[in-house]
Each structure stands twice: as C-alpha cells, then as structure tokens.
C-alpha cells in the first residue's frame, strides 16, 4: 500500500472513490472475496478525508422497523466487534408523549421480529441508567442494551490495512477525480489529478459528493447533502469523572427529535428537529476553504435555538452546570434520499458504475460486504431491494424530486411514520388517463413509483353501510385506511369492480432471440402457445426472488412483460442489463403507452360482453389467455387473469383511449352495479384471500421459490438465472414455508384496554409460549402482509414458518403493540383460502 505516491496505477479491476467507512469496507470485502488490483481514492487526507464519516456521532441503535436496514446494522455491528472498534453502552429512546409510547411498543415488536433484546422501561429506570435525565419529563423509554458507539475512522484504517495485507489494495489519498470516461454506456476509465486509471468498475462511495462524481459518468445518484446540527457541551464533572469516552447509555429524545450522548467530558447533542437545510453537492466547500472540514459547515444558531429548551428540560442537571459551555457546534452534512433509504447497486444509467451512497455509520461495514458480494456473485446475502439504485424512475432521480422529498423527509428521521404513510410533496407526477374520472368519484390517491393510484373511493362510502363493514376502532390501525376498501371488495365479489392498474410497468420483448432470452430470464416455461399468459418468478442468481411477473406471448417472437409499478424500474434495469449483445432481441419499455383497467366480479363477463362484439365466453376466451378485442371502438388487449380471485380481465389499451374505455365499462356496468375499486382491494384484501404473493413483501432475495410455495411441478430444460440454486432448493426442501394465518374472533385480538387491534405488518410471529421462531437459516418469522379478508370474515397475516410450525391448525401468537394475540395457521403454501379451486375466476 502506498498513501503518498504521486501517481495512481494505470489500470485497476475496480476503483473505489471515497475512503469513508463505506469505501473502506467495500475495498476490504472485495479483497476478502479474492479481488485484486483494487484502487481506493479519496480527494482528502487519511485517516479522515473530511466526509461525513469524520464527524458523525458514531452511535448505533440496532432496531429499525425495516428488516433490510436492521440486517445491515447487525452485520455492521458484528464487523465493528470483530475489529474491536465498538463500545457497547446501551441506548434508550425516551417518550414524552402517549403517541410515542405507542411507537416504542411498535419498536419493541420490531426488535423482537429481528431478534434484538430490548425492553420498555419506566422513567425511574431511565433515571437509574442515566442519572442526569429528569424522569418527570418523560413517560417511558425503550431500552436496547446492545446500542453502542463505534470508531469508524479506526475501523476504516484497519480495513485498509487488512486489504493491503492481501496485496489487493492501492490507496491514494489527496487524489481528486476529474472525470470518468464511458464507452457504449459502460465505464472505461477514471481520470484523476494524479493520472488516469483504466477500469471497467467504479464504486461511488463518496457520500454527499456522490451525485457530483456520478454525473461525471452521466449517471444520477439522487441524494442531497442535508444539515444535521450537533453540539458539544462541557466540561461536565459527572462525565469527566467517568474517565472514559462513554460510560452512560445514549439517550434519544424522540419527541424532541434529538439525541444526547456522553463524549468524554462533554454531552454531545444532535438534532433532527430544525428546518431542513439542504445544500448542493457542487457547492460544498473544498478542504482548503473549509474552516473545519467540508462536511462540517458553520453552525447556524437560530436553527438550533428551539432545541435548547428541550435539551435543558431533559438534561438540566448537567447542562446548567456552571462552567459547562458550548465548546463545539457544527452544521454537519449527511445524505438525504427521496425515500430515506440508501442508494446501492449498479447504476441503471451507466454500466459498471456502482453506487454505495447515503449510508449511515451504523450500516457502513455491512453495506461494504453486501456490495462486495453483489459485485462478485450477483446477489448480496441481505435482500437490498429497498436500497437498490435501480428503484428510481427517471423523475425520481431529478433534483426537483430529491429536494422535495428531502425537505419533507428530514423531520421524519426521528418521527413516527405510519407504515402506510404517504408523501405530500411532488405528487401528481404520473396520472393515468382515468384520473379525471377517479377524482370525480372521490378517489383517495396513494402513490407508487410516482403514479397516483386510487386506494379507495369516497363515492363508495354508502357501500360500507350496505355491506355492514365495521370500522377499525383504534386510530393507528385505521390510519391511511378506510372501511370503504372492504366494502369495495364485497361489492366486487357480489357484482363487479373496475380497478385502475395503469401503474403497471410493461415491456415489449421481440425479435428472433426473444424466446431464448426470456427463457433465460425467468423460471417458468415461456415457450407456450401464442396467446398464453405465463405467471413466473424471476430469480436472482442465488435462487431468491428478483421479481414475479406476467408474460404474454403475443407472437412467435413477440412477448409482453407486465410487472408491478413498485418494482418496474428495477425490473426494467434487470431485463435491459441482460439483453444479448447480438441485437437479436428488441426491448421497449411501453409503460407510458398503455393504460390498464381491471374488470372483475361475477358480472364481469356480462359487462364486457355488452361493450364488445367479440366472443368473451369461457369457451372462446379461457382463463390464462390473451385476446385482442374491441370495446366500444377501442382496440384492447384483454388478458383473462386475476389477482383478486374473481372472473374478469385486465384490459390494456392505448393510453389515449383510456377515458373512453373507462366510460364504456362504467356505462355497461351500471345496470350490474359495478363500482370503481381501489388498490386496497387489488393489493391487499382480494390478494390475501387468494394467497397471492407480493414482491417486496413475501418475495425477496432471501427466500426461494420452494419456500414461497411458487415452485413449479416441472423444471424446464432451458437454463435460466438462478436455476442451479432453484434445483438445490427443490432438493433440500424449505427451511420455512410461506403460510397464511388468521386472527381469532374479536375477543382474541382485543387489547388489555378493550380495543380490537389489527396488526399492520412487520410484527413477530411467536410460538405459543412467546418464544421467537427462527428457521434453520436463521431467519425469523414475521408478518409479511396483514389485512382483512372481508369475504372470509376474518383478518389474515402472511408469514414464513419453519416446518415444525407450518402445520394447518397450529396455534401461534402475534405480538402487536406490546401485546400478544393468538393466531392460527390457516393455510400452508399457496392454495387460496377463498375459493380454493379457483372456480370463480375460471368460470
């Protein structure tokens, strides 16, 4: 290793830009996985190049509601532990409000789901653990004994050292990247002020500067530098007397959106309560021009002022200490993304350009390992679909979107965020052609991928009375939800419903190589008769799920791929990046050209028949087939398929015909009592009753097709991505099986305070004695989806269970808001609970 050579190597297998915690970890893990000729650059000096790693508060609270983030954090803690750079001091998240107490109960469920020992404690216990906290201003706390502080600079130094010991790594500090060359959409070289490096892989791990570096290659990493204010107050004798860096648990004052931790003789106070203060990556001062470091900007006192009183209230006994002063205060920069998640993976815009950005200290080492695995084997051990850089649609990569969402998201960092909570900013970007009609019908819109999708229609409120749908008595359970969804569901099951599915991402795949290409991409047999529909998992190289979607064979060499709006961008990248080089396959993203209207319910055929001269009888238009028909003059590709379990069609039409199509179906449906129904029915109630799996909920790369119950009777002879792992999974059988569980009667899920409660997803499924259930691969059982089954008169939960629990009739418990409710395994595997033989949709 050389740190002060004046030239960089002329070529490298991979160049990592940024020697913060992430870049160091990527370098180390690539070396561990056998990579050589790794170059790590930073424009700053070592060991602290001046990025966010150098000024972070360096503490780790392991519990997060997100499985992905928690897994990255736990993996990181293992690495810090191994390198001896972690100090376990424990941490307490304190509540000042009843609402926060409820949130802490929800955290308790998450901690149990992910296997992190934690408990709810009284204010008195908080004061025992941290004697200078005033217990009278808090209502309770959430105590995590494993919370810790780490030394990321030391960690990075050790990682560089070890990678260098393999002879794998050249480190070049004080080296500024001046450009990135690409050819035919792939990186070929990186240019620096110390020379050029020919390389076909670059990892951008430069935190707040990442957008600037990515832009050199013509790609976007949608994040913005945002200020997080921190100050050190001291010296405080009680803290100085401990003689150590940290002797007391870290306190997160969640309702004040602040944290306080000991740092030697000082109390370090950080805030997420101030106004969002966003910066431009290009305007971050240089190392020379910065008074402290480029990411430690001048403190703006006015922004912090309102937090002074909160801090004094909780920590008055030591902050009022005579002689204790504000010794250091900064506006530290961190990275904010549109959805708060990291930005990881290969850029869909430039081949070979990998992003490892927007990562907190608590996730850094874990992200490094996952990136290295991803780059080496194609699949990281931890499913990272929520952090995948390919998740962004083009409009979501714009500065406009990033700034809007960062402004809105900043105060959510310590906020109480409902799992269904919707963003308010930069909405109405993608509107289906039915939008005007939906607005007329009082649609309540939820967003997916920038699309506005009706979640339910207020005009259907009378149905609630008609069907006698009960409301949810607890405000939290009923937040971002309406009983209208259940009413729409029942109306669909009894009559018919029309559902806007325009948010689907759709790709046309054609050409002489199309069949072979798709065979290789997906698990199911694609070589079916023209006009057939193929539902299929798309596997990752490790045999886990990359996606699941529907393929329509439109011709011998022409296929349509239809996938969900949430994952459309990732899927588009996956398919594009695997196209053969020989030009034998044409790939077109036609999402913006097509609108889709679902029509389902026992009256669906009567309604459709009234609008079209084409024969839509079961004999002429069987289940699982596609036909081109004409509806009131509109050319439509009709697919006889259902995700809700009723007779009906997906009607795909040219976008501009959308409103005409809607009006035709609505008019024909009126005598039959058709209702518009929202995604609440499509995505939750209808789907759950049929046991259909959802990518991102039940399906992710940590579970295979056998476990998800989606293995097919026969394995096609054609090779496909993940086949080897799929065959192995068939051989070894499931370590856990996806099951559908049912809550009991109302009394069974009524809380101690007498209110019927409804789990919302993410909760742990426990054995009857309250013990965690963990399968032989170490994965715990948790609720992947929860929702009502109005036609079954029950409430369903989906969860993976190990074989010993995956037994129909098995009684288990779900923990929700610190209480446990009995549940019964209603179904093991994919056979639907509602209409198990599919007679309704196949009639």
């Amino acid at each position: 290793m050389s740190t002060d050579s004046s030239r960089v190597p002329s070529s490298a297998d991979v160049v990592i830009i940024g020697a913060g915690i992430v870049g160091n970890s990527v370098a180390y893990h690539l070396a561990e996985l056998g990579w050589r000729n790794i170059v790590l650059l930073d424009k700053g000096p070592l060991p602290d190049p001046g990025g966010s790693t150098g000024h972070a508060s360096n503490f780790i609270f392991p519990v997060d509601h997100s499985k992905e983030i928690t897994a990255l954090t736990l993996e990181s803690m293992r690495q810090y532990e191994k390198l001896g750079t972690i100090t376990t001091c424990g941490g307490i998240e304190v509540a000042r409000t009843e609402e926060r107490i409820e949130e802490l109960k929800r955290r308790l469920a998450s901690s149990k789901a992910w296997g992190i020992p934690s408990e709810l404690i009284t204010p008195e216990r908080v004061a025992q653990l941290v004697p200078f906290v005033d217990p009278s201003v808090i209502l309770g706390g959430f105590w995590t004994p494993s919370a810790a502080v780490v030394d990321p600079l030391q960690t990075g130094a050790l990682m560089r050292e070890q990678a260098s010991a393999h002879g794998a790594l050249t480190v070049s500090a004080n080296t500024e990247v001046t450009g990135i060359s690409t050819e035919r959409g792939r990186v070929t070289a990186i240019h620096t002020d110390k020379g050029d490096i020919a390389t076909d892989r670059i990892v951008v791990a430069c935190g707040v500067w990442s957008p600037r570096i990515a832009r050199m290659a013509g790609a976007r990493i949608p994040l913005t530098p945002a200020v997080h204010q921190m100050m050190d107050v001291g010296p405080i004798p009680e803290l100085a007397d401990t003689g150590t860096e940290i002797a007391y648990p870290i306190v997160r004052d969640m309702d004040a959106l602040m944290y306080e931790r000991q740092s030697g003789a000082d109390l370090e106070i950080g805030s997420y309560a101030h106004r969002p203060i966003l910066h431009e990556p290009d305007e971050i001062p240089s190392i020379e021009a910065a008074a402290l470091s480029p990411t430690q900007l001048p403190f703006t006192q006015d922004d912090f002022d309102p937090q002074l009183e909160d801090a004094l209230e909780l920590f008055g006994s030591i902050l009022n200490e005579p002689g204790a002063g504000v010794r250091h205060a900064i506006n530290g920069l961190l990275s904010m993304t549109p959805d708060g998640a990291p930005i990881l993976g290969e850029s869909p815009e430039v081949g070979g350009l990998w992003s490892a950005a927007a990562v907190w200290i608590k996730e850094g080492p874990g992200v490094g390992r996952m990136m290295a695995e991803w780059m080496t084997t194609g699949t990281p051990e931890i499913d990272l679909h929520g952090a995948d850089i390919a998740r962004f649609y083009p409009h979501q990569r714009t500065t406009h979107h990033v700034v809007a969402r960062a402004n809105e998201g900043f105060n959510k960092i310590y906020g109480i965020v409902h799992p269904r909570e919707q963003w308010a900013s930069n909405r109405r970007q993608r509107l289906s052609p039915f939008h005007a009609r939906e607005v007329e019908a009082g649609a309540v819109f939820f967003e997916v991928g920038g699309w506005e999708r009706p979640h339910w229609y207020e005009s259907n409120r009378p149905l609630v009375t008609e069907f006698g749908v009960p409301d949810r008595p607890h405000e939290w359970d009923g937040r971002w939800w309406s009983p209208i969804t259940n009413a729409e569901h029942l109306a669909m099951r009894e009559r018919a419903a029309m559902i806007d599915l325009t948010a689907f991402a759709q790709f046309d795949v054609s050409g002489p190589g199309a069949l072979d290409y798709l065979q290789r991409m997906v698990m199911a047999q694609v070589d079916k008769a023209v006009g057939r529909l193929i539902y299929t998992p798309v596997l990752a190289p490790n045999g886990g799920f990359r996606s699941d979607l529907t393929i329509v064979r439109l011709g011998d060499e022409h296929f349509r791929v239809i996938t969900g709006g949430a994952d459309g961008a990732r899927d588009a990248f996956w398919f594009r990046s695997h196209l053969p080089d020989d030009g034998s396959v044409a790939f077109a993203d036609i999402t913006s050209a097509v609108c889709t209207l679902g029509l389902w319910g026992p009256r669906a055929r009567d309604i459709l028949a009234a609008t079209t001269p084409d024969d839509v009888s079961n004999e002429a238009f069987g289940f699982g087939t596609a036909k081109r028909i004409v509806i009131d003059g509109v050319p439509v590709l009709a697919l006889r398929v259902s995700y809700v379990g009723d007779l009906g069609w997906e009607l795909h039409a040219p976008f501009e015909h959308g409103q005409h199509l809607w009006d035709a179906i609505a008019a024909a449906g009126e005598p039959h009592g058709i209702v518009p129904a929202g995604i609440g029915v499509y995505g939750t109630t209808g789907r759950l009753e049929k046991g259909y799996r959802l990518m991102g909920a039940e399906l992710d790369s940590e579970y295979n097709a056998v476990e998800a119950g989606l293995a097919l009777p026969k394995v096609k002879s054609a090779d496909f991505i993940g086949k080897e792992a799929y065959l192995a999974a068939r051989e070894s059988g499931p370590a856990a099986t996806l099951c559908t569980l049912a809550l009991g009667n109302t009394a069974d899920h009524t809380s101690a305070s007498g209110i019927a409660r409804f789990p919302q997803g993410g909760e742990p499924i426990l054995a009857r004695d309250g013990e965690r259930i963990v399968d032989r691969k170490g994965r715990s059982s948790y609720v992947t989806t929860a929702g009502a089954a109005p036609s079954l008169g029950t409430y369903l939960l989906m969860a993976y269970l190990p074989p010993e629990y995956a037994v129909e009739g098995e009684r288990l418990v779900v923990e929700y808001m610190a209480e446990q409710y009995p549940v019964t395994v209603a179904r093991v595997g994919r056979t639907p609970l509602f209409d198990p033989d599919d007679t309704r949709m196949k009639s």
Partner: protein
C-alpha cells in the same frame, strides 16, 4: 519629503530602506537616541529627535501628540512608521488627532495622488490593494519588507531636536501613566530565540511538553505552542505562536503535532527553516514546511533526543 519613524528594532532599518526606495527625500524621526553615524551611512541627512520629559512615563497618546506636532511643523508628504506595537500605536494617535487615514501593515507602496499600496490583512491571510487619499500619507510598513537603499551614504546626519508642547488640552488622553515597569531580563523569548520547539494538539497534554522542553534546551531554544494548547490550558498564552499570539522568525521552527491552521501559519511563516513532525502527511503545516517527519511526536522526539545525546558523547 517623507518622514520615517524609527524605533530601535532591526525592522526599523528595513523600513527605512524601503521608504528610501520610494524615490523621495527621507528624514528620520526617533523618540530616543539616534545613531547618526549609521544613519549617515544609510543616506539620511537629518534625524528629528523628539524629546520631552513627559514622554517616558506617558501613554502612547503623548507620543502621538508629539509626533503630530512634528508633522504639523515639517509638513512632510508622507509619514512612514515601522510596524512595531509602539510606533503603530503612536501613528494611530496621529491619525486620530489629525483626522487623517492611516494604512497599517503595508508591503508595497507607491507615492502619488492617491498613494497606492498593498497591505497585509489577518496577519498574512490576505493582501489588500488600497488607495490612500490624504496628505500627508500616514502608513506603517510590515515587518520583513525592505528595499535597496535608495540613497548613497552622506557625510553626516544632522540631529534636530524637537520638543513638543504637551498642553493641558491634551491632558485627558495623557492621564495614563506608567506606574510600574519590569524588564524582561536577559532570558530568551519567542521573539529572540534562534530555535523554537512548538507543540500543538498532537502533544496531547501539559505533561507531553516535557520532551519539547528537553529538546528546546538541548538546541538552545524555547518552547512555543499553538492556540489549541493554550485553550486546553497546557501552556500559558505567552508561549502561543500565531496571529493572536507572537509572530516569530527563528532560524528553526520545529512544529510538533501542529496541523497548521492559517492563524498559526501566519505566526511562524517567516521562520528560516520549518520542520514539522506529524502523523498526518497531509496536514497543512507538513505540506508547507521545509522538512517533515511523518510520525507520532511521542516516538520521534525521544529518538531525536537520543540521537543528539549519542552524537554529543561520540
């Protein structure tokens, strides 16, 4: 004619030389004794010696009062002072009394209407180009600025005594009187030591300075420090080198564990040789130094002391 206001520092002679290079006749002003032989060698034909019983114990205000009377009397086109505390303070009083502008810390001057000059701001962080619209032009020349002596030696330098009238009217501002005066003695100071062994954050504690003291003693120098050390209470402020401490110019400035913020740099940049010892090869002072050693001072200094011992014994 330009008046050059001298004191007894070597910098005063640099200032004199620079002032002479401005192309006008230069006469000298002193508040004390004047070495007329030397001044004659330097081409100065006249020196105005300001003398008054009151001046010795009065505040600088009195010197300013006296100097402004001399100026009134001689009506020079410019008055140029050396940039010492005492002369600058007297010049500031002249400016305040006369209502004239004063440009301090100049490094480049050209006479004319207006005078054009370049002055040092922030101890050397920035240079300011400015115009001085006034007559006479009042300015001080920064230390280290010199010039070729414009005038050849003259036969003799005439001493012209000037006795100001320190009137009652000026009494208010002269009420400040010296009641105690202590000489520094013969001990070496930061300003006079040929070697300064200076320590910063990297020293880590007050105890950590022992090695620096030992090395300073062996090299016949004194210990200095950065602002971090003063703020942490490791060293007294009188040891502080930098913009707000002492500006130094020794033969050797040995900077131990000092990263070298601008405020420190401007205090030591005039040193003949700067040697930096630091763990960070990219610390600003390491990059700007003449010599650098990369390493922990707690390892490097003992080794250097051992080496010195070995050589002196050998």
């Amino acid at each position: 004619m330009i008046l050059a206001v001298l004191d007894d520092s070597p910098a005063a002679l640099d200032m004199l030389a620079y002032t002479q290079s401005l192309g006008q006749q230069v006469e000298a002003v002193t508040f004390g004794a004047a070495d007329t032989d030397d001044l004659a060698k330097r081409g100065v034909r006249a020196v105005h010696r300001i003398a008054h019983d009151e001046l010795a114990d009065c505040a600088p205000a009195a010197s300013g009062e006296a100097l402004s009377q001399l100026i009134e009397h001689l009506r020079p086109e410019g008055v140029v002072g050396v940039c010492s505390d005492a002369v600058t303070e007297a010049m500031a009083h002249v400016a305040a009394i006369t209502g004239l502008p004063l440009a301090t810390n100049c490094v480049e001057v050209s006479t004319g209407d207006p005078w054009l000059l370049t002055r040092v701001r922030g101890g050397g962080m920035l240079l300011e180009e400015a115009e001085l619209h006034a007559s006479p032009a009042l300015l001080t020349i920064a230390q280290g600025v010199s010039g070729d002596i414009g005038a050849g030696p003259v036969e003799s330098c005439e001493v012209r005594e000037f006795t100001p009238e320190l009137t009652e009217a000026a009494a208010t501002t002269q009420q400040a009187r010296i009641v105690e005066r202590a000489s520094r003695g013969s001990g070496m100071t930061l300003a006079t030591a040929p070697v300064i062994v200076s320590g910063g954050r990297g020293v880590g504690s007050a105890d950590g300075y022992r090695a620096l003291e030992e090395l300073a003693e062996r090299l016949g120098g004194v210990v200095g420090c950065s602002r971090v050390a003063t703020n942490n209470g490791w060293r007294p402020h009188s040891d502080q080198v930098g913009l707000t401490g002492t500006k130094v110019a020794p033969e050797l400035y040995l900077a131990c564990g000092i990263s070298g913020a601008t405020q420190h740099w401007v205090g030591c940049m005039d040193s003949k040789v700067i040697m930096a010892v630091n763990t960070d090869p990219e610390a600003p002072l390491v990059r700007r130094a003449t010599y650098a050693v990369i390493g922990d001072i707690h390892e490097v200094l003992p080794a250097v002391i051992d080496e010195l011992k070995a050589r002196s014994e050998g």
